[in-house]
Protein backbone atom coordinates (compact mmCIF):
# COMPACT_ATOMS: atom_id res chain seq x y z
CA UNK A 1 0.00 0.00 0.00
CA UNK A 2 1.34 3.40 -0.96
CA UNK A 3 -0.04 6.87 -1.21
CA UNK A 4 0.39 9.16 -4.17
CA UNK A 5 0.03 12.86 -3.47
CA UNK A 6 -0.29 15.40 -6.22
CA UNK A 7 1.68 18.51 -5.41
CA UNK A 8 0.49 22.03 -5.98
CA UNK A 9 3.18 24.53 -6.81
CA UNK A 10 3.97 27.42 -9.13
CA UNK A 11 7.06 25.78 -10.71
CA UNK A 12 9.21 27.64 -8.20
CA UNK A 13 7.80 26.81 -4.79
CA UNK A 14 5.55 24.29 -3.15
CA UNK A 15 2.19 25.78 -2.21
CA UNK A 16 1.82 25.65 1.53
CA UNK A 17 -1.42 23.65 1.47
CA UNK A 18 0.49 20.76 -0.10
CA UNK A 19 2.62 20.57 3.03
CA UNK A 20 -0.52 20.20 5.13
CA UNK A 21 -1.78 17.54 2.77
CA UNK A 22 1.53 15.68 3.07
CA UNK A 23 1.00 15.39 6.81
CA UNK A 24 -2.43 13.88 6.31
CA UNK A 25 -1.25 11.60 3.52
CA UNK A 26 1.54 10.16 5.61
CA UNK A 27 -1.02 9.37 8.30
CA UNK A 28 -2.75 7.13 5.80
CA UNK A 29 0.44 5.33 4.90
CA UNK A 30 4.06 6.16 5.49
CA UNK A 31 5.05 5.12 2.01
CA UNK A 32 4.18 8.45 0.53
CA UNK A 33 5.17 9.42 -2.97
CA UNK A 34 4.63 12.85 -4.42
CA UNK A 35 3.78 13.44 -8.04
CA UNK A 36 5.10 16.73 -9.30
CA UNK A 37 3.71 17.82 -12.62
CA UNK A 38 5.08 21.06 -13.96
CA UNK A 39 7.63 22.79 -16.10
CA UNK A 40 11.14 23.78 -15.05
CA UNK A 41 10.19 22.87 -11.54
CA UNK A 42 13.45 21.29 -10.41
CA UNK A 43 13.54 23.57 -7.40
CA UNK A 44 10.18 22.31 -6.34
CA UNK A 45 11.30 18.71 -6.80
CA UNK A 46 14.32 19.43 -4.64
CA UNK A 47 12.25 21.02 -1.87
CA UNK A 48 9.82 18.14 -1.93
CA UNK A 49 12.64 15.65 -1.61
CA UNK A 50 13.72 17.42 1.55
CA UNK A 51 10.36 16.87 3.21
CA UNK A 52 11.02 13.98 5.62
CA UNK A 53 7.56 12.49 5.15
CA UNK A 54 8.08 12.11 1.42
CA UNK A 55 9.66 8.83 0.32
CA UNK A 56 9.86 9.48 -3.39
CA UNK A 57 9.26 12.37 -5.76
CA UNK A 58 8.06 11.58 -9.26
CA UNK A 59 8.73 14.53 -11.48
CA UNK A 60 7.01 15.00 -14.81
CA UNK A 61 8.41 17.99 -16.60
CA UNK A 62 7.11 19.44 -19.80
CA UNK A 63 6.10 22.80 -21.13
CA UNK A 64 2.53 21.60 -21.50
CA UNK A 65 2.39 21.56 -17.70
CA UNK A 66 3.53 25.14 -17.32
CA UNK A 67 0.04 26.06 -16.22
CA UNK A 68 -2.20 23.91 -14.21
CA UNK A 69 -4.96 22.45 -16.34
CA UNK A 70 -6.91 19.56 -14.84
CA UNK A 71 -7.50 18.07 -18.27
CA UNK A 72 -3.78 17.69 -18.96
CA UNK A 73 -2.77 16.68 -15.44
CA UNK A 74 -5.34 13.90 -15.21
CA UNK A 75 -3.82 11.44 -17.70
CA UNK A 76 -0.43 11.76 -16.00
CA UNK A 77 -1.92 10.93 -12.62
CA UNK A 78 -3.87 8.02 -14.08
CA UNK A 79 -0.74 6.63 -15.61
CA UNK A 80 0.94 6.50 -12.21
CA UNK A 81 -2.13 5.63 -10.18
CA UNK A 82 -1.82 1.92 -10.80
CA UNK A 83 0.79 1.38 -8.10
CA UNK A 84 -1.04 3.20 -5.35
CA UNK A 85 -3.88 2.50 -2.99
CA UNK A 86 -4.63 6.17 -2.32
CA UNK A 87 -4.47 9.22 -4.55
CA UNK A 88 -4.62 12.41 -2.51
CA UNK A 89 -4.26 16.16 -2.74
CA UNK A 90 -5.27 19.30 -0.90
CA UNK A 91 -8.93 20.35 -0.87
CA UNK A 92 -8.43 23.86 -2.18
CA UNK A 93 -9.42 25.10 -5.61
CA UNK A 94 -6.48 23.15 -7.09
CA UNK A 95 -7.41 19.78 -5.64
CA UNK A 96 -11.14 20.31 -5.84
CA UNK A 97 -10.82 20.94 -9.54
CA UNK A 98 -8.49 18.05 -10.27
CA UNK A 99 -9.31 15.10 -8.06
CA UNK A 100 -12.89 14.35 -9.14
CA UNK A 101 -11.68 14.15 -12.73
CA UNK A 102 -9.21 11.47 -11.69
CA UNK A 103 -11.68 9.69 -9.44
CA UNK A 104 -14.34 9.43 -12.12
CA UNK A 105 -11.92 7.80 -14.54
CA UNK A 106 -10.77 5.38 -11.84
CA UNK A 107 -14.44 4.68 -11.12
CA UNK A 108 -13.90 5.71 -7.52
CA UNK A 109 -16.27 7.58 -5.27
CA UNK A 110 -14.11 10.39 -3.96
CA UNK A 111 -13.93 11.33 -0.28
CA UNK A 112 -13.75 15.12 -0.23
CA UNK A 113 -12.29 17.50 2.27
CA UNK A 114 -11.28 15.17 5.08
CA UNK A 115 -10.32 16.68 8.42
CA UNK A 116 -9.11 13.52 10.12
CA UNK A 117 -7.65 10.18 9.11
CA UNK A 118 -9.28 7.48 11.20
CA UNK A 119 -7.91 4.49 9.31
CA UNK A 120 -6.79 3.71 5.78
CA UNK A 121 -10.38 3.59 4.61
CA UNK A 122 -12.24 5.68 7.19
CA UNK A 123 -12.17 9.43 7.46
CA UNK A 124 -13.88 12.34 9.16
CA UNK A 125 -15.24 15.10 6.97
CA UNK A 126 -17.45 18.13 7.56
CA UNK A 127 -20.82 18.37 5.86
CA UNK A 128 -23.44 21.15 5.87
CA UNK A 129 -20.75 23.83 5.94
CA UNK A 130 -19.19 22.33 9.03
CA UNK A 131 -22.44 22.13 10.97
CA UNK A 132 -22.08 18.36 11.13
CA UNK A 133 -19.19 15.92 10.93
CA UNK A 134 -19.55 12.63 9.06
CA UNK A 135 -17.42 9.57 9.60
CA UNK A 136 -17.25 7.82 6.25
CA UNK A 137 -15.77 4.56 5.08
CA UNK A 138 -14.78 4.05 1.48
CA UNK A 139 -15.24 0.65 -0.10
CA UNK A 140 -13.41 1.48 -3.32
CA UNK A 141 -10.20 -0.43 -3.88
CA UNK A 142 -8.39 2.68 -4.96
CA UNK A 143 -9.28 5.69 -2.90
CA UNK A 144 -9.31 9.30 -4.03
CA UNK A 145 -9.16 11.77 -1.20
CA UNK A 146 -8.87 15.51 -0.82
CA UNK A 147 -7.59 16.97 2.41
CA UNK A 148 -8.70 20.11 4.18
CA UNK A 149 -5.35 21.81 4.68
CA UNK A 150 -6.23 23.81 7.76
CA UNK A 151 -7.03 20.63 9.68
CA UNK A 152 -3.47 19.29 9.48
CA UNK A 153 -0.12 20.73 10.44
CA UNK A 154 2.29 21.61 7.70
CA UNK A 155 4.94 18.95 7.18
CA UNK A 156 8.55 19.77 7.98
CA UNK A 157 10.50 20.95 5.01
CA UNK A 158 14.02 19.83 5.82
CA UNK A 159 15.94 16.72 6.70
CA UNK A 160 14.42 14.44 4.10
CA UNK A 161 16.32 12.62 1.38
CA UNK A 162 13.71 11.29 -1.00
CA UNK A 163 14.86 10.21 -4.43
CA UNK A 164 13.64 12.17 -7.40
CA UNK A 165 12.49 10.07 -10.31
CA UNK A 166 11.81 11.62 -13.67
CA UNK A 167 8.86 10.35 -15.60
CA UNK A 168 7.53 10.97 -19.05
CA UNK A 169 4.86 13.36 -20.05
CA UNK A 170 1.59 12.02 -21.25
CA UNK A 171 0.30 14.29 -23.91
CA UNK A 172 -3.36 14.54 -24.71
CA UNK A 173 -5.25 17.00 -26.78
CA UNK A 174 -7.27 19.12 -24.47
CA UNK A 175 -9.90 21.61 -25.34
CA UNK A 176 -8.92 23.87 -22.50
CA UNK A 177 -6.54 26.76 -22.87
CA UNK A 178 -4.99 28.77 -20.10
CA UNK A 179 -5.25 32.50 -20.76
CA UNK A 180 -4.15 34.31 -17.65
CA UNK A 181 -4.09 34.41 -13.91
CA UNK A 182 -4.59 37.61 -11.97
CA UNK A 183 -3.30 37.33 -8.48
CA UNK A 184 -5.51 39.70 -6.62
CA UNK A 185 -3.30 40.80 -3.77
CA UNK A 186 -4.78 44.21 -3.31
CA UNK A 187 -8.27 42.96 -3.86
CA UNK A 188 -9.43 41.66 -0.59
CA UNK A 189 -11.22 38.38 -0.16
CA UNK A 190 -14.96 38.69 0.00
CA UNK A 191 -16.42 39.14 3.43
CA UNK A 192 -18.65 36.12 3.01
CA UNK A 193 -15.90 33.69 2.06
CA UNK A 194 -12.73 35.02 3.65
CA UNK A 195 -10.76 32.72 5.90
CA UNK A 196 -10.02 35.62 8.21
CA UNK A 197 -12.22 38.62 8.95
CA UNK A 198 -11.16 41.62 10.97
CA UNK A 199 -13.96 43.99 11.95
CA UNK A 200 -14.06 47.41 13.51
CA UNK A 201 -16.83 48.94 15.56
CA UNK A 202 -17.76 52.23 17.05
CA UNK A 203 -14.59 52.11 19.10
CA UNK A 204 -12.64 53.02 15.97
CA UNK A 205 -13.94 56.55 16.50
CA UNK A 206 -13.58 57.65 12.88
CA UNK A 207 -13.05 56.45 9.35
CA UNK A 208 -9.35 57.29 9.20
CA UNK A 209 -8.63 54.97 12.07
CA UNK A 210 -9.82 52.04 9.97
CA UNK A 211 -6.36 52.27 8.44
CA UNK A 212 -5.16 50.38 11.53
CA UNK A 213 -7.48 47.56 10.57
CA UNK A 214 -6.65 47.71 6.88
CA UNK A 215 -2.94 47.25 7.59
CA UNK A 216 -3.59 44.11 9.56
CA UNK A 217 -6.04 42.83 6.97
CA UNK A 218 -3.35 43.25 4.30
CA UNK A 219 -0.96 41.26 6.38
CA UNK A 220 -3.42 38.46 7.06
CA UNK A 221 -5.15 38.53 3.69
CA UNK A 222 -8.30 39.15 5.66
CA UNK A 223 -11.61 40.66 4.69
CA UNK A 224 -12.65 43.81 6.50
CA UNK A 225 -15.88 43.83 8.41
CA UNK A 226 -17.66 46.35 10.54
CA UNK A 227 -20.44 46.58 13.05
CA UNK A 228 -23.56 48.41 12.12
CA UNK A 229 -22.65 51.15 14.52
CA UNK A 230 -19.47 51.85 12.57
CA UNK A 231 -21.35 51.82 9.30
CA UNK A 232 -24.12 54.05 10.57
CA UNK A 233 -21.56 56.45 11.92
CA UNK A 234 -20.15 56.65 8.40
CA UNK A 235 -16.72 55.19 9.22
CA UNK A 236 -17.02 52.62 6.46
CA UNK A 237 -19.45 51.61 3.72
CA UNK A 238 -22.31 49.26 4.44
CA UNK A 239 -21.07 46.38 2.30
CA UNK A 240 -18.67 45.69 5.15
CA UNK A 241 -21.42 45.22 7.68
CA UNK A 242 -21.52 41.95 9.59
CA UNK A 243 -24.68 40.70 11.21
CA UNK A 244 -26.81 43.62 10.30
CA UNK A 245 -28.29 42.95 6.90
CA UNK A 246 -28.46 39.24 7.32
CA UNK A 247 -24.80 38.86 6.43
CA UNK A 248 -23.41 36.00 8.43
CA UNK A 249 -19.72 35.23 8.29
CA UNK A 250 -18.11 31.99 9.38
CA UNK A 251 -14.39 32.48 8.95
CA UNK A 252 -11.65 30.46 10.61
CA UNK A 253 -10.62 33.58 12.47
CA UNK A 254 -12.78 36.56 13.35
CA UNK A 255 -11.17 39.54 15.02
CA UNK A 256 -13.58 42.06 16.55
CA UNK A 257 -11.98 45.37 17.36
CA UNK A 258 -13.80 48.04 19.34
CA UNK A 259 -17.06 46.17 18.93
CA UNK A 260 -19.19 45.84 22.03
CA UNK A 261 -21.13 42.89 20.68
CA UNK A 262 -24.69 43.98 20.12
CA UNK A 263 -27.03 41.07 19.64
CA UNK A 264 -27.07 41.67 15.90
CA UNK A 265 -23.39 41.59 15.46
CA UNK A 266 -23.02 38.42 17.47
CA UNK A 267 -25.66 36.77 15.33
CA UNK A 268 -23.55 37.48 12.30
CA UNK A 269 -20.24 36.07 13.48
CA UNK A 270 -20.56 33.85 16.48
CA UNK A 271 -20.23 30.66 14.46
CA UNK A 272 -16.71 31.65 13.45
CA UNK A 273 -14.11 29.04 14.30
CA UNK A 274 -11.91 31.28 16.41
CA UNK A 275 -13.08 34.62 17.73
CA UNK A 276 -10.79 37.32 19.06
CA UNK A 277 -12.14 40.37 20.84
CA UNK A 278 -10.13 43.49 21.46
CA UNK A 279 -12.02 45.98 23.57
CA UNK A 280 -11.22 48.27 26.44
CA UNK A 281 -14.50 47.54 28.18
CA UNK A 282 -13.95 44.23 29.91
CA UNK A 283 -17.68 43.80 30.43
CA UNK A 284 -18.53 44.06 26.73
CA UNK A 285 -20.77 41.19 25.60
CA UNK A 286 -18.35 40.39 22.77
CA UNK A 287 -16.07 38.73 25.33
CA UNK A 288 -18.74 36.15 26.07
CA UNK A 289 -18.27 34.60 22.63
CA UNK A 290 -14.54 35.24 22.24
CA UNK A 291 -11.99 32.44 22.37
CA UNK A 292 -9.32 35.01 23.06
CA UNK A 293 -10.22 38.30 24.67
CA UNK A 294 -7.81 41.15 24.99
CA UNK A 295 -8.89 43.96 27.26
CA UNK A 296 -6.91 46.85 25.84
CA UNK A 297 -7.04 50.19 24.10
CA UNK A 298 -7.26 49.35 20.43
CA UNK A 299 -5.09 52.30 19.45
CA UNK A 300 -2.23 50.73 21.32
CA UNK A 301 -3.12 47.11 20.64
CA UNK A 302 -3.53 47.27 16.85
CA UNK A 303 -0.10 48.71 15.95
CA UNK A 304 1.44 46.24 18.35
CA UNK A 305 -0.54 43.43 16.77
CA UNK A 306 0.80 44.35 13.33
CA UNK A 307 4.31 44.50 14.72
CA UNK A 308 3.98 41.01 16.16
CA UNK A 309 2.56 39.68 12.90
CA UNK A 310 5.52 41.13 11.03
CA UNK A 311 7.81 39.16 13.30
CA UNK A 312 6.25 35.87 12.24
CA UNK A 313 8.10 33.84 9.60
CA UNK A 314 5.04 32.53 7.89
CA UNK A 315 1.43 33.51 7.86
CA UNK A 316 -1.23 31.23 6.49
CA UNK A 317 -2.99 32.68 3.54
Amino acid sequence: MSVLLIAEHNNKEIKSFTLNAITAASQIDEDLHVLLIGHNADDVAKSLSLVPNVKKVIQVDNEIYENYIAESFTPVVLKHAENYSHIVCSANTFGKNLMPRIAALLDTSQVSDIIKVISTDTFLRPIYAGNAFATVKSSDLKKCITIRPTSFEAAQTSGGTAEIVKADKHEVTTNTKFIKKEEVKSDRPELGTARIVISGGRGMQNGENFKLITDIADKLNAAIGASRAAVDAGYITNDHQVGQTGKVVVPDLYIAVGISGAIQHLAGMKESKIIVAINKDGEAPIFSVADYGLEADLFEALPKFLEELNKLNTIQK
Partner: protein, 249 residues
Amino acid sequence: MKILVAVKRVIDYNVQIRVKEDGTGVVTDNVKMSTNPPDDNAIEEAVKIKESGKANEIVAITVGEEKAQETVRKALAVGADRGIHVKVDGIIEPLAVSKILQKVVDKEKPDLVFMGKQAIDDDCNQTGQMLAALLNWPQATFASKIEVKDQYLEVTREVDEGLETIEVKTPAIVTCDLRLNEPRYASLPNIMKAKKKPIEEINVSDLGVDVKPRIEQLKVEEPPKRKAGIKVSSVEELVQKLKNEAKVI
Protein backbone atom coordinates in the same frame (compact mmCIF):
# COMPACT_ATOMS: atom_id res chain seq x y z
CA MET B 1 -27.02 26.10 -28.67
CA LYS B 2 -28.54 23.95 -26.00
CA ILE B 3 -27.70 24.21 -22.31
CA LEU B 4 -28.39 21.50 -19.77
CA VAL B 5 -28.51 22.77 -16.19
CA ALA B 6 -28.33 20.39 -13.26
CA VAL B 7 -30.06 21.41 -10.03
CA LYS B 8 -30.22 19.76 -6.64
CA ARG B 9 -32.73 19.98 -3.80
CA VAL B 10 -31.06 20.66 -0.45
CA ILE B 11 -32.00 21.90 3.02
CA ASP B 12 -32.55 25.64 2.78
CA TYR B 13 -29.41 27.56 3.66
CA ASN B 14 -31.18 29.55 6.37
CA VAL B 15 -32.25 26.49 8.28
CA GLN B 16 -30.07 25.46 11.19
CA ILE B 17 -29.52 21.79 10.53
CA ARG B 18 -29.96 19.33 13.35
CA VAL B 19 -28.05 16.11 13.69
CA LYS B 20 -30.18 13.05 14.43
CA GLU B 21 -29.67 11.60 17.83
CA ASP B 22 -28.93 8.14 16.49
CA GLY B 23 -26.10 9.49 14.35
CA THR B 24 -27.61 8.38 11.04
CA GLY B 25 -27.77 11.81 9.45
CA VAL B 26 -29.51 15.13 9.85
CA VAL B 27 -33.20 15.79 10.41
CA THR B 28 -35.01 16.52 7.16
CA ASP B 29 -38.67 15.92 8.10
CA ASN B 30 -40.70 19.08 7.53
CA VAL B 31 -37.52 21.06 7.04
CA LYS B 32 -37.66 23.79 4.44
CA MET B 33 -35.91 22.65 1.27
CA SER B 34 -34.67 24.81 -1.59
CA THR B 35 -32.58 24.68 -4.70
CA ASN B 36 -28.87 24.47 -3.94
CA PRO B 37 -27.86 28.18 -4.05
CA PRO B 38 -25.12 28.08 -6.74
CA ASP B 39 -27.45 25.96 -8.90
CA ASP B 40 -29.69 29.04 -9.00
CA ASN B 41 -26.71 30.94 -10.39
CA ALA B 42 -26.26 28.22 -13.01
CA ILE B 43 -29.86 28.56 -14.14
CA GLU B 44 -29.65 32.34 -14.15
CA GLU B 45 -26.54 32.29 -16.32
CA ALA B 46 -28.15 29.91 -18.79
CA VAL B 47 -31.22 32.14 -18.99
CA LYS B 48 -29.03 35.19 -19.55
CA ILE B 49 -27.21 33.45 -22.37
CA LYS B 50 -30.49 32.49 -23.92
CA GLU B 51 -31.78 36.04 -23.57
CA SER B 52 -28.67 37.30 -25.36
CA GLY B 53 -29.65 35.11 -28.30
CA LYS B 54 -26.72 32.74 -27.96
CA ALA B 55 -28.71 29.75 -26.80
CA ASN B 56 -32.06 28.49 -27.90
CA GLU B 57 -32.96 25.86 -25.36
CA ILE B 58 -32.43 25.34 -21.66
CA VAL B 59 -33.15 21.97 -20.11
CA ALA B 60 -33.16 21.70 -16.33
CA ILE B 61 -32.42 18.35 -14.79
CA THR B 62 -32.45 16.97 -11.28
CA VAL B 63 -31.62 13.59 -9.85
CA GLY B 64 -33.43 12.61 -6.70
CA GLU B 65 -36.60 11.65 -4.92
CA GLU B 66 -40.13 12.62 -5.89
CA LYS B 67 -40.04 16.06 -4.32
CA ALA B 68 -36.76 16.99 -6.01
CA GLN B 69 -38.93 17.88 -8.98
CA GLU B 70 -39.75 21.17 -7.21
CA THR B 71 -36.28 22.40 -8.10
CA VAL B 72 -36.85 21.67 -11.79
CA ARG B 73 -40.20 23.42 -11.57
CA LYS B 74 -38.50 26.45 -10.08
CA ALA B 75 -35.92 26.44 -12.88
CA LEU B 76 -38.77 26.35 -15.38
CA ALA B 77 -40.33 29.35 -13.65
CA VAL B 78 -37.23 31.47 -14.15
CA GLY B 79 -36.65 30.56 -17.77
CA ALA B 80 -35.75 26.93 -18.44
CA ASP B 81 -37.77 25.48 -21.31
CA ARG B 82 -38.30 21.94 -20.17
CA GLY B 83 -37.26 19.61 -17.41
CA ILE B 84 -35.96 16.13 -16.73
CA HIS B 85 -36.35 14.36 -13.44
CA VAL B 86 -34.32 11.22 -12.90
CA LYS B 87 -36.04 9.50 -10.04
CA VAL B 88 -33.98 7.77 -7.42
CA ASP B 89 -34.42 7.37 -3.68
CA GLY B 90 -31.84 7.39 -0.93
CA ILE B 91 -28.27 8.63 -0.85
CA ILE B 92 -26.78 9.03 -4.26
CA GLU B 93 -23.11 9.89 -4.59
CA PRO B 94 -21.66 12.40 -7.06
CA LEU B 95 -20.05 9.59 -9.06
CA ALA B 96 -23.46 8.03 -9.63
CA VAL B 97 -25.03 11.40 -10.42
CA SER B 98 -22.35 12.10 -13.01
CA LYS B 99 -22.91 8.70 -14.61
CA ILE B 100 -26.62 9.46 -14.79
CA LEU B 101 -25.93 12.88 -16.28
CA GLN B 102 -23.59 11.27 -18.78
CA LYS B 103 -26.43 9.07 -20.04
CA VAL B 104 -28.71 12.08 -20.33
CA VAL B 105 -26.04 14.10 -22.13
CA ASP B 106 -25.58 11.25 -24.60
CA LYS B 107 -29.25 11.50 -25.39
CA GLU B 108 -29.81 15.26 -25.19
CA LYS B 109 -26.51 16.29 -26.76
CA PRO B 110 -26.28 19.72 -25.12
CA ASP B 111 -23.47 22.08 -26.01
CA LEU B 112 -23.01 23.16 -22.42
CA VAL B 113 -23.76 21.67 -19.04
CA PHE B 114 -24.01 24.09 -16.11
CA MET B 115 -24.37 23.36 -12.43
CA GLY B 116 -23.44 24.82 -9.04
CA LYS B 117 -19.84 24.40 -7.95
CA GLN B 118 -20.83 22.46 -4.87
CA ALA B 119 -23.94 21.32 -3.04
CA ILE B 120 -24.37 22.83 0.40
CA ASP B 121 -25.48 19.56 1.97
CA ASP B 122 -22.73 17.00 1.32
CA ASP B 123 -20.17 19.65 0.30
CA CYS B 124 -18.54 17.18 -2.09
CA ASN B 125 -17.70 19.45 -5.03
CA GLN B 126 -17.29 16.60 -7.51
CA THR B 127 -20.17 16.14 -9.91
CA GLY B 128 -19.23 18.67 -12.59
CA GLN B 129 -15.63 17.55 -12.79
CA MET B 130 -16.62 13.88 -12.82
CA LEU B 131 -19.11 14.42 -15.60
CA ALA B 132 -16.47 16.28 -17.59
CA ALA B 133 -14.09 13.37 -17.13
CA LEU B 134 -16.63 10.75 -18.15
CA LEU B 135 -17.55 12.73 -21.25
CA ASN B 136 -13.95 13.74 -21.87
CA TRP B 137 -15.10 17.33 -22.08
CA PRO B 138 -13.25 20.37 -20.83
CA GLN B 139 -14.27 21.76 -17.46
CA ALA B 140 -14.43 25.26 -16.07
CA THR B 141 -15.04 25.12 -12.34
CA PHE B 142 -15.74 27.96 -9.90
CA ALA B 143 -16.90 30.22 -12.71
CA SER B 144 -17.48 33.84 -11.74
CA LYS B 145 -17.75 35.17 -15.28
CA ILE B 146 -18.70 33.46 -18.52
CA GLU B 147 -18.37 34.90 -22.00
CA VAL B 148 -19.82 32.94 -24.85
CA LYS B 149 -17.67 33.14 -27.98
CA ASP B 150 -17.84 31.27 -31.22
CA GLN B 151 -17.28 27.57 -30.45
CA TYR B 152 -15.76 28.31 -27.08
CA LEU B 153 -16.31 29.98 -23.73
CA GLU B 154 -14.04 32.34 -21.93
CA VAL B 155 -14.46 31.65 -18.26
CA THR B 156 -13.09 33.51 -15.27
CA ARG B 157 -12.54 31.16 -12.37
CA GLU B 158 -12.29 32.02 -8.70
CA VAL B 159 -9.14 30.27 -7.55
CA ASP B 160 -7.20 30.57 -4.29
CA GLU B 161 -4.70 33.07 -5.64
CA GLY B 162 -7.26 35.27 -7.35
CA LEU B 163 -8.85 35.01 -10.75
CA GLU B 164 -7.88 32.67 -13.55
CA THR B 165 -9.14 32.97 -17.08
CA ILE B 166 -9.38 29.95 -19.35
CA GLU B 167 -10.90 29.12 -22.67
CA VAL B 168 -12.88 25.94 -23.05
CA LYS B 169 -14.11 24.62 -26.35
CA THR B 170 -17.69 23.55 -26.45
CA PRO B 171 -19.12 21.15 -25.55
CA ALA B 172 -18.01 21.91 -22.01
CA ILE B 173 -18.97 21.71 -18.36
CA VAL B 174 -19.15 24.83 -16.22
CA THR B 175 -19.63 24.83 -12.46
CA CYS B 176 -20.87 28.13 -11.14
CA ASP B 177 -19.84 30.28 -8.23
CA LEU B 178 -22.24 32.41 -6.18
CA ARG B 179 -20.57 35.53 -7.53
CA LEU B 180 -21.43 34.69 -11.13
CA ASN B 181 -24.68 36.66 -11.10
CA GLU B 182 -27.72 37.58 -9.03
CA PRO B 183 -30.49 35.06 -9.64
CA ARG B 184 -33.82 36.57 -10.57
CA TYR B 185 -37.11 36.05 -8.78
CA ALA B 186 -39.76 33.86 -10.26
CA SER B 187 -42.80 35.98 -11.01
CA LEU B 188 -46.25 34.67 -10.30
CA PRO B 189 -47.33 34.50 -13.95
CA ASN B 190 -44.11 32.67 -14.80
CA ILE B 191 -44.71 30.16 -12.04
CA MET B 192 -48.13 29.56 -13.59
CA LYS B 193 -46.60 29.09 -16.99
CA ALA B 194 -43.96 26.78 -15.56
CA LYS B 195 -46.68 24.45 -14.37
CA LYS B 196 -47.49 23.76 -17.98
CA LYS B 197 -43.93 23.16 -19.15
CA PRO B 198 -43.05 19.50 -19.66
CA ILE B 199 -40.94 17.51 -17.22
CA GLU B 200 -39.77 14.14 -18.45
CA GLU B 201 -39.58 11.56 -15.69
CA ILE B 202 -36.97 8.85 -15.99
CA ASN B 203 -36.52 5.97 -13.59
CA VAL B 204 -32.89 5.51 -12.77
CA SER B 205 -33.25 1.78 -13.38
CA ASP B 206 -34.00 2.51 -17.02
CA LEU B 207 -30.63 4.18 -17.48
CA GLY B 208 -28.61 1.14 -16.57
CA VAL B 209 -26.41 3.01 -14.12
CA ASP B 210 -25.10 1.45 -10.94
CA VAL B 211 -26.00 3.95 -8.21
CA LYS B 212 -25.08 1.83 -5.22
CA PRO B 213 -23.11 3.98 -2.74
CA ARG B 214 -19.43 3.19 -2.43
CA ILE B 215 -19.00 5.21 0.71
CA GLU B 216 -20.61 4.11 3.91
CA GLN B 217 -21.64 6.86 6.27
CA LEU B 218 -20.79 5.34 9.63
CA LYS B 219 -21.80 8.23 11.82
CA VAL B 220 -22.96 11.83 11.66
CA GLU B 221 -22.33 13.92 14.72
CA GLU B 222 -22.37 17.51 15.85
CA PRO B 223 -19.08 19.34 15.62
CA PRO B 224 -17.33 19.68 18.95
CA LYS B 225 -18.64 22.56 21.06
CA ARG B 226 -16.80 25.82 21.41
CA LYS B 227 -14.40 25.76 24.32
CA ALA B 228 -14.78 28.44 26.95
CA GLY B 229 -12.76 31.46 25.97
CA ILE B 230 -9.88 32.99 27.85
CA LYS B 231 -8.59 36.51 28.38
CA VAL B 232 -5.07 37.13 27.24
CA SER B 233 -2.91 39.71 28.94
CA SER B 234 -0.94 41.04 26.00
CA VAL B 235 -0.81 41.32 22.24
CA GLU B 236 2.24 39.04 22.20
CA GLU B 237 0.33 36.36 23.98
CA LEU B 238 -2.59 36.80 21.62
CA VAL B 239 -0.47 36.36 18.51
CA GLN B 240 1.34 33.41 20.04
CA LYS B 241 -1.98 31.73 20.87
CA LEU B 242 -3.38 32.36 17.41
CA LYS B 243 -0.29 30.93 15.82
CA ASN B 244 0.45 27.95 18.03
CA GLU B 245 -2.75 27.06 19.82
CA ALA B 246 -5.56 27.99 17.46
CA LYS B 247 -3.30 27.64 14.42
CA VAL B 248 -5.30 30.09 12.38
CA ILE B 249 -2.55 32.48 11.27
